[in-house]
């Protein structure tokens, strides 16, 4: 027995704003992977020699690097914010019978984001 499935057009995601932003959000993962590759290059150079590191820092000053960083930052920030905002929807916590308000969970997530960011900048850049 074959079941009939309604064919879905390849442009379904252009038909509604919600679908469009969903697909954009999924595509932000491309920038995540791209930045992972960049991090690998960065680590390899920083672990190599003073010359490699100096060349790397010089290449960070190039317009291409800055533009790529800006684009990646925009997309990754979009991914991060939408992810943090949906945390209370996937993590429903209760204290006794009372449900912990969404704002409190979101607030806690943003707070930890801030703390993690501070720790990273302190570790890399120093006090």
């Amino acid at each position: 027995m074959t079941t009939y499935r309604k064919p879905v057009s390849n442009t379904w995601w252009l038909e509604s704003k919600t679908y469009f932003f969903f697909v954009i959000r999924e595509f932000t993962s491309l920038f995540v992977a791209g930045y992972c590759l960049f991090l690998l290059v960065f680590i390899a150079k920083a672990g190599d020699s003073q010359e490699s590191y100096a060349t790397l820092v010089l290449s960070l000053k190039s317009p291409i690097s800055i533009v790529l960083h800006l684009i990646s930052f925009t997309f990754i920030l979009y991914h991060a914010i939408t992810w943090f905002n949906l945390t209370p929807k996937i993590m429903v916590l209760h204290v006794g019978e009372e449900r912990i308000p969404n704002a409190l969970i979101t607030g806690a997530v943003y707070l930890s984001w801030g703390v993690v960011s501070l720790i990273i900048s302190w570790l890399i850049l120093g006090g």
Binding site: N10, W12, W13, V23, E26, F27, S29, L30, V32, A33, Y35, C36, L37, F38, L39, L40, F42, I43, A44, A46, G47, D48, Q50, Y53, A54, V57, L60, K61, S65, I66, H69, L70, S72, F73, I76, L77, H79, A80, W83, F84, S112, W113, V116, S117, I120, S121, L123, I124, L125, G126
Partner: protein, 97 residues
Amino acid sequence: MISAMVFPMLLIITGAILPFELAGEVTFERIHNAVKNPVVKLVLFFVIALPFFHWAHRFRFTLIDIGLKPISFLVSLLCYGGAITGTIVAAFILWRI
């Protein structure tokens, strides 16, 4: 989760603070000694390897959903294969330092 928490700050550092020397000069010795530290290496491994799989999974399903269903096996192979390769390369680079 890891990419959302960690990457925005890292992008600010490598995209603005290091090139424009906003926090003074960050010396080679500082970064070099940091990436040589075994604990830092372990953290870096997870910070790089896990987001590769985050990418592989999302990218695979998005490509299939927007019309690459006929070649879904190939898409999956390339995505997860890419993530596995990336993980191995990351382990190799961190190991060699």
